[in-house]
């Protein structure tokens, strides 16, 4: 697989990296003693590392190209090999037990794990819902939204402010937060109806920042950077709960929320509206020519996507009992977007897996926290090169028609 030319190129790459990193990795300047030294062993590490990385990437890329070639040769008549993913997902007999086991494990968690672990799980579940919400906008309707966190902030602040001014409880604020975020989604949707791709991304990015800056600077309205504190946790028919109990309660609430989201999003995707979203992603002009109202379809995507962010925002405010603008930076949007892209655009299961991986790994690999961003970036690059469709690619619903439909027109 690896040719002589590859080896030669690997040597060149290693040499180039030595040259590039020489000033920062090898030369060590000590400004106090006004002296400098050389760390030659760093140079060896860099040379070896880049040499091996280059060869490995060549090897895997060649593998991938060979595989693609093989797949092209299979003509359409030959039944393509059904991979285990699709088989697992297509037969209820196979996936129902798996789902049952997962659900049972999830339900037992609060009994066995510490409060700290449950808190992490709640965060992960929140990102699952956020990912599923953004998945509607980015993955299904193909509208690149970099300001998704704005809707999250709208939800969180709507609970915080409604409680502060009107004393509204969690359960009243939850739908209100969702609906408010959805209407903000429509507000964002209107000006960007004509925009596509990069331009849309920039405007949504701006929108996200505007919301954050408003929250940061409009002191009378949002209490500025100091935020709003003393937000009550969700209540359960007025029963007093200890901290541990209320956290387990929040955990179960989040599980319910995730199941609700999956249920709704799945049904939406396989409906008339979901098909219109997919069509919009695939080809905007053809989509209009087939009689789909572009305006309405985009606005429903924006508002239904934002709706989930608003609900999770309310839960976030209740979980932390404190909100401030610093929780809603662009980085949050980027992470949610990464969840969608890594999981697979439009794939519900992929998004769930990606959200859990991206949220849990950093928590449990705290020992390597210095390298977190490095690993994160590298993972993204590797994923995009080797599996651009995401962890689990979208599975379209298949239809079987055994008997001929009677009402042939």
């Amino acid at each position: 697989m690896i040719t002589f030319k590859d080896l030669k190129n690997a040597c060149l790459v290693a040499g180039w990296f030595i040259f590039l990193t020489f000033p920062i990795m090898v030369i060590k300047v000590n400004p106090f003693e006004r002296s400098f030294g050389f760390r030659w062993q760093n140079m060896i590490y860099i040379a070896g590392g880049s040499f091996i990385c280059y060869l490995a990437s060549r090897f895997f890329l060649a593998n991938k190209a060979a595989k693609q070639k093989k797949q092209k040769l299979l003509s359409i008549q030959d039944k393509p090999k059904i991979d285990w993913q699709q088989r697992l997902l297509s037969e209820p007999r196979l996936y129902l037990p798996v789902l049952g086991v997962i659900l049972a494990i999830l339900l037992i968690f609060p009994q066995v794990l510490s409060t700290y672990q449950i808190n992490i799980m709640i965060t992960a579940l929140m990102y699952v819902v956020l990912g599923l919400g953004l998945n509607i906008v980015v993955g299904v309707a193909g509208l690149l939204d970099l300001g998704y966190v704005a809707f999250y902030a709208v939800g969180a602040y709507s609970y915080a402010l409604l409680h502060l001014h009107f004393g509204l409880g969690f359960w009243t604020a939850l739908p209100i937060g969702g609906v408010l975020a959805a209407s903000f989604g429509i507000m964002l949707g209107f000006p960007v109806l004509r925009l596509r791709g990069d331009y849309l991304a920039i405007v949504t990015l701006g929108f996200g920042e505007i919301i954050r800056l408003i929250l940061e600077n409009w002191n009378d309205f949002s209490h500025g950077p100091s935020g709003i504190s003393n937000i009550p946790r969700p209540g359960f028919f007025g029963i007093d709960m200890t901290l541990n109990q209320s956290i387990s309660y929040l955990y179960y609430l989040m599980i319910g929320m995730v199941i609700f989201t999956i249920f709704v999003v799945n049904r939406l995707q396989n409906s008339r509206i979901g098909r219109a979203w997919f069509a919009l992603r695939e080809d905007e002009i053809a989509c209009q020519a087939m009689g789909i109202d572009k305006t309405r379809t985009k606005l429903t995507a924006f508002s239904l996507g934002a709706f989930w962010a608003g609900m999770v925002g309310v839960i976030f405010a209740a979980k932390t009992t404190f909100v401030n603008p610093a929780s809603f930076t662009f980085l949050e949007s980027a992470i949610i977007l990464c969840i969608v892209v890594l999981g697979g655009m439009g794939s519900i299961i992929g998004v769930i897996i990606a959200a859990i991986i991206l949220m849990l790994l950093p928590e449990y690999l705290r020992a390597f926290s210095d390298y977190r961003m490095l690993v994160f970036g590298a993972t993204l690059v590797i994923m995009m090169v080797f599996r651009p469709q995401g962890i689990i690619s979208t599975v379209r619903r298949t239809y079987t028609l055994e008997k001929k439909p009677e009402n042939v027109q």
């Binding site: 359409i76 049904r267 069509a279 080809d283 209009q288 087939m290 109202d293 572009k294 379209r396 239809y399």
Partner: protein, 269 residues
């Protein structure tokens, strides 16, 4: 075919259609009438403005001047100019594209089901709760889409991604998708482009069949054999102007058409 035509009133009447792009006049006062069950071909050299004509008709461009009047059977006359593309489709004008514009990552059946969008009305609430009406509607969509695919001959690939279809099948799928919108007039933009003679013959049959179902067809095509065998009426344009109109035989022998396609005869010049 003329026996079947119930009345002589045209289904689609285009009066003085004009389209300017800045200083360039792409379409210059074109008049065209299509009757029910008629196949009208629109031909002309490359760059004559045929696709612009289609885009004006379907609302992708807003024509600078002129009137587009659609009279669906049993309905009042409606003006189409200025309508958005989706509204035009809803009025009963469906089209295919010169360079295939399917939804590549959706299945064949879903592609056709999309065509039903403007004829169905399930909303978000219905989609989430799957009430009786929505389920019924969804069943009807699938059944109708399937029956259209049956007619087009793509039933063995129902669950295949559209992008995996062979070229000829993709062209036919585009027609199927357009048919799903229940059009009164079908606009076909070079349906035979890139097809082999066998596929073209199949297409010929298919278009005739669609016409026999009572649809009117407006066709842009470069394959003269297909145009001559199919059309009832041919409309020839060049540089945005009409240069000839008439039956296939009239057009074939029209000196202006020969000039536009082959250039001027040196002896006459």
């Amino acid at each position: 075919m003329t026996e079947q035509t119930t009345s002589n009133t045209p289904i689609l009447e285009i009066k003085g259609l004009t389209m300017d792009f800045g200083g360039i006049r792409a379409l210059d006062h074109l008049d065209l009438r299509i009757r029910q069950g008629e196949i009208v071909a629109l031909i002309g050299p490359n760059g004559a403005g045929k696709t612009t004509f289609f885009n004006c008709l379907t609302g992708i461009y807003k024509p600078t001047g002129g009137d587009l009047l659609l009279t669906s059977p049993g309905e009042a006359t409606r003006r189409l100019n200025g309508l958005k593309p989706n509204k035009v489709t809803q009025q009963g004008l469906a089209r295919t594209f010169q360079n295939i514009r399917l939804f590549p990552n959706m299945t064949v059946l879903e592609n056709v089901m999309i065509g039903r969008h403007c004829r169905t009305r399930a909303k978000v609430v219905g989609a989430v709760f799957r009430n009786k009406k929505t389920v019924q509607e969804e069943k009807e969509i699938v059944a109708l889409a399937y029956s259209i695919l049956e007619k087009i001959g793509l039933t063995d690939m129902v669950n295949e991604f559209a992008k995996n279809l062979p070229y000829g099948a993709q062209r036919r799928l585009e027609i199927a998708r357009a048919l799903a919108t229940e059009p009164t007039i079908l606009l076909l933009d070079e349906p035979a482009a890139g097809m082999n003679p066998h596929e073209t013959a199949e297409l010929d049959e298919l278009i005739t069949e669609i016409r026999d179902d009572g649809l009117s067809i407006l066709l842009i095509e470069h394959d003269m054999k297909l145009v001559m065998s199919l059309s009832d009426h041919i409309f020839v344009m060049d540089y945005g102007k009409k240069i000839a109109e008439g039956s296939p035989d009239d057009v074939r022998n029209n000196p202006a058409v020969i000039k536009a396609y082959l250039g001027e005869d040196i002896e006459n010049a």
